[in-house]
């Protein structure tokens, strides 16, 4: 097993407005010393409540924000030590899928253009080649080739999430960070998207880092899980182990809180 992405003592503090002239401005430690290793081929879940820092962690992993301290290594590269062009090249290996399928697509671009954007940004390519690959990505996520000329508002929430996933796989990345990819969707649509992610893992060799508040989603899709609380990882391990023999009280509370369907 090789480490696909790993963090070391990763921290991100945000400054708050001063409440006194004399004291230093207070800071929020959104991410506060996180060490984690995501192995290639093993989906990694990060669970926690809102405010636990899991979304900030997602943005740090993708180098969308600079950390206050610590490092993120993608394969052999220290992301924050790379030059701008080298970082750009590294981005081909990692993509993101957001929670809100309404906000994550530009309303004024056809979905074909949105999907092709990562290719246009990262590689020299002809328009015909971009179109061909966008169509391939569209069909891989279960949409039709004709859909490339439509605009986001012509799709339902679940279909838009498929488009967002198509955009994420179009450069054939090794890593996709998915930040609550199904929590804005109807329950029956969640299952379709989760199955799609499961399929892509096999067909495209993608490793997912799944940020979620929902343990059932994490159990379905992930091999390893880290439980975050107030910017720190309180427990980490294989999903089955953490679910069945949680070591931390907080993990137990999270598991107990999941609404359950009656069993027969």
């Amino acid at each position: 097993m090789t480490a696909l992405i790993a963090t070391q003592a990763l921290a991100k503090h945000y400054g708050l407005p001063r409440d006194s002239l004399w004291r230093p401005a207070p800071a929020v430690r959104a991410v506060d010393g996180v060490d984690l290793v995501v192995e290639e081929g093993r989906n990694f879940g990060v669970v926690g409540e809102s405010g636990s820092g899991k979304s900030t962690l997602a943005r740090l992993l993708l180098a969308l924000e600079r950390p206050t301290s610590g490092t993120v290594r993608l394969l052999d590269d220290d992301l924050f030590a790379l030059s701008e062009p080298a970082l750009r090249a590294a981005r081909r290996q990692m993509q993101i899928v957001f929670q809100d399928p309404f906000g994550s697509l530009d309303p004024r671009l056809t979905v074909g253009r949105s999907i092709a954007e990562p290719i246009a940004a990262l590689e020299r390519s002809s328009a015909a080649e971009r179109e061909e690959r966008a169509v391939a990505a569209l069909t891989a996520v279960g949409l039709k080739a004709e859909d490339r000329d439509k605009y986001p508002h012509e799709f339902s929430g679940g279909q838009r999430q498929r488009v967002a996933i198509a955009r994420a796989i179009v450069t054939r990345p090794k890593l996709i960070v998915a930040d609550e990819p199904v929590s804005a969707l109807d329950v029956s649509v969640q299952a379709q998207i989760l199955n799609l992610m499961q399929d892509l893992r096999e067909s495209h060799g993608v490793t997912f880092v799944l940020i979620s508040h929902d343990l059932s989603v994490v159990r379905f899709l992930c091999d390893d899980v880290a439980v975050m609380q107030r910017g720190r990882i309180v427990e980490v391990g294989e999903v089955e182990r953490v679910l069945h023999e949680p070591r931390e009280a907080y993990t137990r509370a999270l598991i107990a809180a999941v609404p359950k369907l009656p069993r027969f």
């Binding site: 090249a89 981005r91 990692m94 906000g103 671009l109 954007e117 940004a121």
Partner: protein, 278 residues
Amino acid sequence: MTFVRRALRHRSFAVGAAVTMLFAFMALLSLVWTPHNPTRINVRGRLAAPSPDHWLGTDQFGRDVLSIIMAGAQNSVAVGVVAVAIGMVGGVALGLLAAACRGWIEETIMRAADFLFAFPAILLAIMLVATLGSGAVNAILAIGIFSVPVFARLARASANAIWTREFVLAARASGRGPWRITGIHILPNIASVILVQATVQFALAILAEAALSYLGLGAQPPTPSWGRMLSEAQPLIFQNPMLAVYPGIAIALTVLGLNLLGDGLRDLIDPRLTRSRT
């Protein structure tokens, strides 16, 4: 198609567009035809009352008032178009730059805009014309420059809102640089807001031009101009008030039409943006 139908049903948009188009048509028509030569002086036919030959009468130099109003529309439209173009291109570019760069570049641009903003616009234009010299071109420049901060502020505020959207974050995650993001995602998404502001600035530019010409700082004789018509009518205000009323009506109607058009556009464009969520 549905947009056009919705637009025609929107009363203030339809009225605004009709009035605006009427004046634009008048300006175009005057390039090729006016009832009389608007600059020809006719000493014998001074201050004539409206007649079939001179629909709105003549002024103290015997020029046909309707012809001057028509030709004056040319001047107003030209000033409006060029000044708004200057303000829009300069302001939007600066606003987008500020939003894309943040940090000290943003601070510098926005504080400069604040500085310009602190002066009353017309005073600023007078100052500029006073330094650059009077004349139509300088008036246009001055009016254009004073609308730069308006567009810069609006563009930056709207662009900042778009920059926080997730599709922009996705584009950054894809490796797009700030300039391409600005071109592909930011500008198209703020274009409608800028367009609405442009119609309002157009109206303000026409007013400002009229004011400068009235003060003798704008279009120079013999170029026909509504503002100068007002100032020329001033000594005769009690004797022959209609000479001031006609250009006054022309200015008021045009400004009203443009404002209605802008309001209508705002209504027509906004719901489409907000409705995409439901």
